[in-house]
Symmetry: C2
Subunit: 354 residues, 2 copies
């Protein structure tokens, strides 16, 4: 199979972790006789520095010319402490999601057995947890009108959803539920928000087409609590952009670490694959970042964009084998030094390839 992959490494540890992701792609290509070609493009802080634009036109053009995108991370602390900055790295990420119509963000949360000890949650609550989040990615308060009043003393953002936007992601989530344990939990705040009431109306309607799926609706506050109290009650979780952002980061504790979580952003055409962790400037360039989320993103790419199931399985098995052999990056170590071997980013990459 011939595929053209665009690597958008972005900021901070994005560089280091996508480098490992790419090595894994190369190894898979060699092993299975595929031909993967690559290109690179800028985004985020790196793009602002180089071009004055967090999402250069060339990045969009190259994205559209690719079969899939391997994405790193965006962000830089300098903007976070400056609420008045006009240009922000995150505009690159939000812009590319919108430009490519990537409305569905899939975030599988599954614990590797070897990491049971790495979480702050008790193992008996985690064992067997297996959640697939569907986070809507191109609507909500992220993309509604925002601004200030004239004297800048009031600021607003608009949380907004259309039936069409809710329906298309709901259908994807129900379809996925049908291939899994046939349970779906839709999360909103319908007791307060009008956009959530529309969300719930549409999900109830779509649910009628999937009578086999057992549907529940939870308010976001209750869902944030239940996710920690009883993670195993969830199968597919369907939610909006903002609530999805919050719940999936929280859910990283179920998988032991943010460093283990991959995501696929898909729409009608190309898919973008990225770790859910951020640019982590505090550890960037030190060679200690966990590359496994990027590697697991590669597995999602092979599976979802290219339909290469056994190639994806091979990557998952490699990750499992490395963990079973006791190799860990710092963030997923549980301090049991007798059995654990702590590796840096590159060494972990080399182990995976081997």
């Amino acid at each position: 199979m011939k595929k053209h992959i665009l690597v958008i490494a972005g900021d901070g540890i994005g560089q280091e972790v996508t480098a490992v992701g790419k090595q894994v792609l190369e190894r898979i290509a060699g092993k299975f006789g595929h031909e993967f070609t690559y290109d690179e493009a800028l985004i985020g802080h790196a793009a602002i520095e180089a071009t004055g634009n967090p999402l250069p036109e060339a990045t969009i053009t190259k994205s559209k010319a690719s079969d899939a995108i391997l994405f790193g991370a965006v962000g830089h602390p300098k903007y976070d402490n400056d609420p008045s900055a006009k240009l922000r790295p995150e505009q690159g990420l939000l812009g590319i999601r919108k430009a490519l119509g990537l409305y569905a963000n899939l975030r599988p949360i599954k614990l590797f057995d070897e990491l049971l000890g790495a979480s702050s949650i008790k193992p008996e609550f985690l064992q067997g947890a297996d959640i697939l989040f569907f986070r809507e990615l191109t609507g909500d308060v992220y993309f509604g009108e925002k601004g200030r009043n004239e004297d800048r003393s009031t600021a607003y953002d608009t949380m907004i959803y259309s039936r069409y936007e809710v329906e298309r992601i709901a259908v994807k989530a129900f379809e996925a539920a049908m291939t899994r344990r046939k349970k779906l939990c839709s999360v909103d705040k319908a007791n307060v928000l009008e956009s959530s009431r529309l969300w719930r109306e549409v999900v109830q309607k779509v649910a009628k087409r999937y009578p086999e799926v057992d549907v529940e609706h939870q308010f976001i506050d209750a869902a944030a609590m239940l996710l920690i109290k009883d993670p195993r009650r969830f199968d597919v979780v369907l939610t909006g952009n903002l609530f999805g952002d919050i719940l999936t980061d929280e859910a990283s504790q179920i998988a032991g670490s943010m460093g283990m979580l991959a995501s696929a952003s898909v729409g009608d055409t190309i898919g973008l694959y990225e770790p859910i962790h951020g640019s982590a400037h505090d550890i960037a360039g030190k060679g200690v970042a966990n590359p496994l989320a990027s590697v697991l993103s590669v597995a999602l790419m092979l599976d979802i964009s290219f339909g290469l199931k056994s190639e994806a399985e091979t990557v998952l098995t490699a990750v499992d084998t490395v963990l079973k052999a006791g190799y860990r990056t710092r963030d997923i170590a549980d301090g049991n030094t007798s059995s654990e071997k702590i590796l840096g980013t590159e060494a972990m990459g080399a182990r995976l390839i081997a």
Copy 2:
């Protein structure tokens, strides 16, 4: 001391738990020689059924005539499954917060040592955790303009904050931090939202007046993760209405159960004291609800509204003693049947009084 207390029991288990809260108030009055008088008022589903209005005028009048309010809960599943309902129980709660100017919601999260085992989080991550949330309560997407477009195919809510609103709650949170461990974490989503950027600007400005307080800013997604990963890193947490709703429910897992968490809603005059749990219709009327959050709300009332510190301490000690003696309601039992004695709502109340 003479005080007039309005009991607004509301819906579901609100009735049962405020009954215990009131008994505790009576016991304190007897023991310390105070004179507490009481009145009752309707809200929520109960008020809709009786008067057709989730917040009858009489409830506001009685509230304004009281020295403090003991609140139960609002909500009813029948509205949750009907996104098009015009009248909703929650309108009563939101309406009274607004009508009385209760802009600051204080939610202390502190684990009773005896409940270390009741949480899904490992005890070594919980021991010593002590967080005080300041949730803004009369602004944000709860109260901004909301609606539908003409053909009802799009729905929106406006997330909105003014400098004035942010400043007054920030000042309260910094003042509290000064009496505690002098750490404050402000939570927003300033990398995406304009209202969060205003929030961060104002908090940064107020922070200058409190140079001794060690301030950090976290994005809501990271905060939702860190709260579980490392609850002890937090002292005072300051956040908006929506993010506060989510984080405090999530944080209930740090305290072992929602049934243990009380909150104080204060503004410039009267205070309203309520459990953070909801109306829980699934267990309402069964006599199994945990009344301790209502009892701890009473302790907050005695302390904050009446300045009765030793009376508040007495209530806390009673809760501690009952837990130490092994008494539990179902929700906080950890299954260790040899040492635990499971009680219903009333029996737990009777134990506390004793």
